[in-house]
Symmetry: C3
């Protein structure tokens, strides 16, 4: 039995900030678990974009302390998709969260993988809902479950066991590595227009990616230099860096690489060597995003 | 004397998220009541839209735990509208908030009604303001008052008593029920484009509203099916559900019913029976919003 | 040695609300300083606009309670600009924050000045960053430093001493006072379209500014009346008030003065007397912003 010992409730949704949705869920957490610190990760995931939510959650995962993750991006509310609470395999490592609560639609497993993979899981029963009306699962199902876990309830007290191998998983981001180049899905375009790719430095090494590459996106082919940081780029120049999540990213100094390239999340871009890399260790810390 | 025993400070405004307004008020609450958990409900009420703020507050009210509600949507700052602190009649029920603090312009009474109605109230005196300048009432009047109540001050210590029957009230949302149909004000269009009406299932029953209805809004007349949940709608199809606040709502599956209908908050739509309801209990939990 | 004794972590950035940046930093603060209340001031400073961030921070400063200010608006990440932690001279006055943490690019000194000026300061060393990748300074450098200060670490334990006189300072907002008028930089346009100027009532007095002034901005010349509050303006009328931060501001009642004038932050407007002021004390509390 893995019991919580407090920590935070990490909260991510596609509810936005205009309506009171996220606020009501915060209030329910406070009511069910007085004193639980709610740490908002973001509530501005594109509506219904489970993939974007799953990626944001997996980027955040290594940095979370102890507690419960409460995540809701849920185009399938009202269908028979399951509501689940999932423990982190091995009880959580490195002082991170021990439990995740949310819909079983692919939102949670990638972040769980970052922390050790899904451990024991349960299906959460439905809630009675508003008088005469339906449930708002974030408010009526997920928040109370997260609050119970935070307060020390055992996972198995929340519902019937679920085989963690049956959790819905999203298709992996596209990535293809060839000698001299790679094709990779755009995982994320951030506020600053940085373009995070589904490729890591190891992939660049495997492709033997050069010091200067052609970038084939939606618009005209552009040239980009592999640089250790933003500071090595002139204004308006495109660069390839390793970003603060350990991914390859296309960046411009103080302007939007996404706009320059005409790409957005879900697109595929290809990088092809134009000028080979110089020998020796070229990789140094690049500019973070942000 | 109704004294607080801690809980949260529930915070709703039209300050937006770009300026530091809400942040400064949060800081003042912390300074005056160290340790008070501030639960942001929303700060993105349309500027000066007291009605939208009052509706959001009343939707949230049943889900709030113990504490103080601090709400500011205030087009009349600088006039002689009163600043008030109002207790919930009977001391609050069901473990909800005991006090509301805000302008006397109609923002608070609907939410108070949800919790049992306005009880004893006081007028808050003005504050000295910035050096040489005026007050920012959220920062200088309302936040300190909410903090004092949270910290255990008695309501009557905050200012002279006010007759709760004299609190300003907004006009009720428009609703008219006839045999075979109803006309109702659009109370709210949420982030997902769901259109909440000022009508409840009882009103639909009283109108004998059918299984298929015509919806007369701003644009062309549309047909909508009464369904228990989003999952019963095909793509692009319009439906009438009971939403998670117990209201009738016009919805589309994964698209915006408000866009389809060309309506926004404050408009009136009319629903008229085209196909009568089948006998028997048709109402089941619908898709929540969200 | 000035040690923190808890309080809050006041958090201001240009990270926006859409990405998980601010959320991850909040989580790191929680992990490093469990129980530290994070008070979000705003995260919607215009990207890279250090000046706007510095002004927001200095407006908030007088209202903050004890704690640590964590502020990041940082176009120069990846360059050799310093990361710093700075104490408030004299240990902080009036129960305000004792330490500021952020980039040494001009973001912090104005707010420090409000509280007594910069005291002892240290340079924060870099962080190891993500595996194979660079640092995200907010997450990897600034948040851990703020958490350590909050938890009671001595400033000098965080890095080598820095002469506070060497902290980067922004150029002061433009202001020029002549008999009968003044020219002042627009410091801020808030959500409500109020236009805060880099001028205070003393400047108006020194200029002998009249009861009615011409406002020369980007568009046509407009006339404005000096009024004690919004309530003294008719619809669509332009006024000059003293705002809740003690600055002169151009305002319209329930509409945007910035739109009427066609100005934005950084522009310079000039006010020239048309009708002289009547004798006697005319200044009374005006309408706050908001």
């Amino acid at each position: 039995v893995t019991r919580q010992t407090g920590g935070s409730v990490f909260f991510l949704t596609d509810y936005g900030y205009t309506d009171e949705f996220a606020g009501v869920v915060r209030a329910v957490v406070q009511r069910c678990a007085p004193g639980a610190p709610v740490v908002d990760l973001t509530h501005d995931v594109e509506p219904f974009d489970v993939r974007a939510g799953a990626l944001a959650l997996s980027r955040a995962a290594p940095h979370l302390g102890p507690g419960v993750v409460l995540a809701v991006v849920d185009p399938d509310v009202g269908t028979d998709r399951r509501a689940v609470a999932v423990s982190v395999a091995g009880g959580g490592t490195g002082g991170g969260p021990r439990h995740f609560v949310g819909p079983d639609n692919g939102l949670l497993p990638w972040a769980l993988d970052v922390l050790g993979g899904p451990g024991p899981a349960v299906a959460l029963p439905g809630a009675p809902g508003a008088p005469g009306g339906p449930t708002f699962d974030g408010r009526d199902v997920f928040a109370p479950a997260a609050a119970r876990l935070w307060s020390g309830s055992a996972l198995e007290d929340l519902g019937p066991a679920v085989d963690p191998d049956t959790l819905v998983r999203l298709t992996a981001p596209r990535l293809s590595v060839q000698p001299g180049g790679l094709e990779a899905e755009v995982q994320w375009v951030d506020r600053f227009g940085n373009v995070q790719l589904a490729a890591r430095p190891d992939d660049a090494d495997a492709a033997g990616l050069g010091a200067v590459v052609e970038v084939h996106g939606a618009g005209p082919v552009r040239s980009a230099r592999r640089v250790p940081s933003f500071a090595h780029l002139g204004p308006g120049t495109l660069g390839v860096v390793v970003d603060a999540n350990g991914h390859l990213a296309l960046v411009c100094d103080r302007s939007s690489a996404a706009t320059v390239l005409g790409v957005r999340a879900g697109d595929v871009v290809s990088l092809r060597t134009v000028v080979p890399a110089r020998p020796g260790p070229a990789r140094r810390p690049g500019r973070p995003a942000p």
